[in-house]
Amino acid sequence: MKAGEVPLLEVSGLSISFETDNGLLHAVNKASLRVESGEIIGIIGQSGSGKTTLMMGLLGLLRGKPGVREGKAFFQGKPLLSQGSSLMAELRGRDIAVIFQEPRAALDPFFRIGEHMREALLRGGSSGSEAEIRNKGLELLRDVGLVDTEQLWDVFPHQISGGMAQRVMIAMALSAKPKLLVADEPSTALDVTTQAKLLELFKRLRDKHGLSIILISHDIGVIQETCSRVYVMHRGDIVEQGETAEVLHHSKHPYTQSLIQAFAYFASGERKALVGAATPETLVEAKGLRKRFGLAGKSFEALDEVSLFLRAGETYAVVGESGSGKSTLALSMMALQGVDGGEVLYRGENWLKSGKSRIRELRRAIRMLFQHPEAVLNAGMTVEATLREALEREDVRSPAEVQERISKVLEQVHLDPVHAKRYPSNLSSGEKQRVTIARALITRPKVLVCDEPVASLDLAIQAQILELLREFQEKMGLTYLFISHNLALVKLLAHRIGVMYMGRLIEEAPAEDFTVERARHPYTRLLLASVPSLDDEKLRGICAEFPDVEPVRLQTGCPFRNRCPLYLRNHHAECETVLPPLRDIKKGKVACHLADA
C-alpha cells in the first residue's frame, strides 16, 4: 500500500455484547483491524473466541437479538456502523461477499446450480440475454476451478460434494465482483485434499482479481499458508496482530504461544509414538469384514473385505476421507453394528458371535472413544454418575471402593475432583473428552478403539489429549485402533497405518514409510501431499498431478481410477476391469496394480 491510501476496510474499537440469562456477555472487546486491497488476512482463535461474531457483527448479519454494538468501521473511507446507515446493506452482496462453513446449507436444494448462479449474477447487477448470463456464470464456475461446468449447470446441490458446493458458493459470491470476501472457516468441513485445492484457489483469486480476503480459521496451518497478516483472538480480545511470519515465529502473547506450541506438536513431524511399545502378540484381529448399506434403493459396500490386526501395546491408525467407512469399521469391530460378513477375534475368540453375557464381559476389555464427546455423555448425568455406571459391571461392591476407583481415574485423566459433581453442560469440550476417556479407562481395558477422538477439539486441547493417550499406552500397555482423517496427526502417533478408500483398505505400512517418496498407493501420496502448512513446491506439484474430480463409487476395477494420475496417463486396462487386491509387499500391503513390490 502506498502511504496515505485509504485501506479497504478499517475497524476500530468494535465491541459486541449479547444479553443472556446471566447478564451481558462480551463477545467482542474493542477489536480493531485493517484490510488493504489485494491482501489475505487471517483471524485465528479457538472456538468460542469471537471470530465469527466479530465479522458477522460488522456485516450486520448476527442472528437473533443484535445486542450492543459499539465502535467505528470504514469501508473505503465511508463509515459503516453509523446510526441508520444503510450502506452496509448496500455493500453486502456487492462489494463485500460472505461464505460460510457449511456450504450446502446455504444452497437451496430445489434449485439447480445454474439457477443459483443466474440469481446471483442478476442480483449482482449483471444484465444481458439469457445466453450471456449463462456464459458469465460458466466462466465464473471455471474461474473457481470447477470442470465440466456445462454439466454442472443443470445439477441439484445434493448431487455435488461439499468441496464443489463450497466452490459454487465462492463463484456466486464473486458474481458481483466484490472487493472483499469474508470466508468463515471455509475449509473446516472439507477433506484435506479438497482443502488444499481451496486454499490454492484463494491465492489465485487474490492474484488474478485483486480480491481481498478475510479468512477466519482455527487452523494455524491454513492461516500460515495463505495469509500475509494475522489477528489472534482470545476470549473476545484481539491479543496479537502483525505479519504472519512475525506473529507465528516471535509471538509475544502467551495465548498465541500456546497455540503455536500446540501446532508445533503436530507440525514438527517429530514422532510421538512409543518406541518398542508393540509386542509380537496379536490381540485383536479383524478378518474380511463386510458391511452393506442400502441408500434409496441402491446399496453399496461401506466395508469391503477389511482385514487388519492389532498387536498388543501398539497403535494402529486408520485414515481415509469422509465416507470411506472408518466409523463403520470402528462400530463393526466394537460389535455395536451388525456386519454382513467377517469376524473380529479378541485373543482368538470371535466376539461378534459370542453370547450376550460374554459380549458384555468383553466390553470391559475393549472400549471405545467417540468423535463427539458432547453426544456421548448423557446431559442429565453428572460425571460421577457416568463413571459409577461404568463400574456397574465390575466386581466392585463397597461404596468406598467405588469412590476410590472414581477418584483414581479422574486423577489419571488429570481432572480435578470438583468436576465429579458437574453436568456435561458445565464442562469444556476438552474436559468432556477427558470424562469419556475416564469412562473407558475405569474398566481397565486392554484395547481402546478411538474414532476421531480429537477431531472436534481445539488444537491445544488435541495435543493434551493425545499426550494423555500416549501416557496410558506407556503405563498400562494399552492397544489403540486410532481412526482419523488427519494423516499428519496419525503419522506422529501410530506404529502402523492403514489407508481406507471407499470401504476398502488400500495400503498398510509402518508409519515411518508414510512419506510422499515411500508411499506406494497414489491415493496415499495425494493425502500426504495435501497436508497444509508443509509449504513446499514439490508437494504442490504432486497435488497438481491429481485431477480435481470427486470420488465416486466405481463398480468395476479400481475404485480410485478416476482420480489416479497413473491410470489417467496410460489407461492401464487392468485398472478398469480388475479390483486390485490388497497384496503383500515389502514391509506392508498395497492394493494397486501398478505399485511395485
Binding site: 464381559e361 467417540f370 453426544a375 456421548v376 446431559a379 455406571e389 469412562r439
Partner: protein
C-alpha cells in the same frame, strides 16, 4: 437468593404458585378431619343450612333473595334451625341495625363456612372431600403413566413391531370418545369411581405414549445411547435409566400434573352426575350435587366453596405442570 434465581427463569412463578397450592391441598387431604373443629359426618341439627359466619362471606355467597328466605324461615330445608338465629339475621333486614358487628355472627354458631342442609360443617366437608379428589386422580395417573410411559419407551426405542403395536393401540383408543367410553364402562360394570378413573387413565395413554415415543425416537439416535451399549449396558437399563430417568422424567412430572388436573375435573363431573363418589362418602362433586336446591333459591355457599376448591386444585396442578413444561423447554433450548 437462589429462590430469586429460580423465579426468574421461565415458568418459575407458575411452578411456585402451582406448587404451593398443590402442597397445601395435599397436606389438607392427608390430614383429613384431624384438625377441623367439626367432623364431616357430624350433623349439627341445631344449625342446619346456616350461612358462613362472617358478614362478607355471607354476602359473597348469598343473594338478597336468599337472605330473605333464610330470614323468613321459608328455606326449602332446615327452617327450624334458622329461627334459632332469627335475632341475628333479623339485624340484616332492619335498616337501622344493619351494622351489627361481625363478631357476634362469627361466635353465633362456629361454622365458619356455614353448614349444609343436614347441619354438616362445610369446612369439614371440603377437607374430607379433598382426599376423594386426589386418590381417584392418582389411579388415573398410575394407569396413564404406568402404561403410557412403557409403551412410549418401547415404541420409540425398538421401531418395528412395538411401534406398529403402539400405533394400532393408540389409534383405536383415540377413535373412541372419552366420555362415552367412561359412561359405557360405568353402565356395564358397577359405578365405582376408581374403576372410572382407571378408564380415564386408559384414554390418556395415547397422549403420554406418543409424547414419550417421539422424544425417545430422537434420543435413540444420539451418541450416548450407543456409548451406553458400548459400556455394556443392557436394553432395560438404557430404557429405564438413560432414556426415562435422565431424559424424560421432567416430561413425566409435567404429564402427572396435567393428568391430575384433568382427572379432578372428570371426577367432580362424574360425582355431580352421581356416577362417581356416592354419599355418604364426600367429594367436592357430590357436595355441589347436594346443593342444587339452595343454589337456585339464592343461598349458594354450599355450591360456592367446593367449586372454588375444584378451581383452585385444577389451577394448582395446571400451573405446576405448565411451569415445569416451560422450564423444560427452556433447558432444552426450544
Amino acid at each position: 437468593m437462589s429462590l430469586l434465581v429460580f423465579l426468574r427463569k421461565p415458568g418459575g412463578w407458575r411452578m411456585l404458585t402451582g406448587g404451593a397450592i398443590v402442597v397445601f391441598l395435599v397436606l389438607t387431604a392427608v390430614s383429613g378431619n384431624f384438625w377441623t373443629r367439626f367432623k364431616s359426618d357430624e350433623m349439627d341439627f341445631e344449625h342446619q343450612l346456616v350461612p358462613p359466619s362472617s358478614n362478607w362471606l355471607m354476602h359473597l355467597t348469598t343473594t338478597e333473595a336468599g337472605r330473605k328466605l333464610l330470614l323468613q324461615g321459608n328455606g326449602s330445608a332446615g327452617g327450624s334451625s334458622v329461627t334459632a338465629d332469627e335475632d341475628i339475621l333479623g339485624a340484616l333486614d332492619d335498616g337501622t341495625k344493619a351494622q351489627v358487628p361481625d363478631a357476634s355472627l362469627l361466635t353465633a354458631h362456629g361454622h365458619v363456612l356455614g353448614t349444609d342442609k343436614n347441619g354438616r360443617d362445610m369446612t369439614a366437608l371440603l377437607v374430607a372431600g379433598a382426599r376423594n379428589c386426589f386418590l381417584p386422580g392418582l389411579v388415573a395417573c398410575a394407569v396413564a403413566l404406568g402404561v403410557g410411559v412403557w409403551l412410549g419407551l418401547l415404541a420409540g426405542y425398538y421401531d418395528g413391531r412395538w411401534r406398529l403395536f403402539a400405533q394400532v393401540f393408540n389409534g383405536t383408543l383415540l377413535s373412541m370418545p372419552r366420555m362415552v367410553l367412561i359412561l359405557v364402562v360405568i353402565c356395564a360394570l358397577e359405578p365405582n369411581v376408581y374403576l372410572t378413573m382407571a378408564v380415564l387413565g386408559v384414554t390418556l395413554i395415547p397422549r403420554v405414549s406418543e409424547l414419550i415415543a417421539t422424544r425417545v425416537r430422537a434420543l435413540s439416535k444420539m451418541g450416548f445411547i450407543l456409548a451406553a451399549k458400548e459400556g455394556g449396558l443392557g436394553d432395560f437399563r438404557i430404557l429405564t435409566r438413560h432414556l426415562f430417568w435422565y431424559q424424560n422424567r421432567a416430561v413425566f412430572f409435567v404429564q402427572f400434573s396435567l393428568i391430575m388436573a384433568e382427572s379432578i375435573l372428570v371426577e367432580t363431573t362424574l360425582s355431580y352426575l352421581q356416577f362417581g363418589t356416592r354419599p355418604p362418602e364426600v367429594s367436592w362433586g357430590n357436595i355441589i350435587e347436594g346443593s342444587r336446591l339452595t343454589f337456585f333459591s339464592g343461598q349458594y355457599w354450599i355450591t360456592f366453596f367446593p367449586a372454588a376448591a375444584i378451581v383452585l386444585a385444577i389451577l394448582g396442578f395446571f400451573y405446576l405442570g405448565d411451569g415445569l413444561n416451560a422450564r423444560l423447554a427452556h433447558r432444552e433450548g426450544r
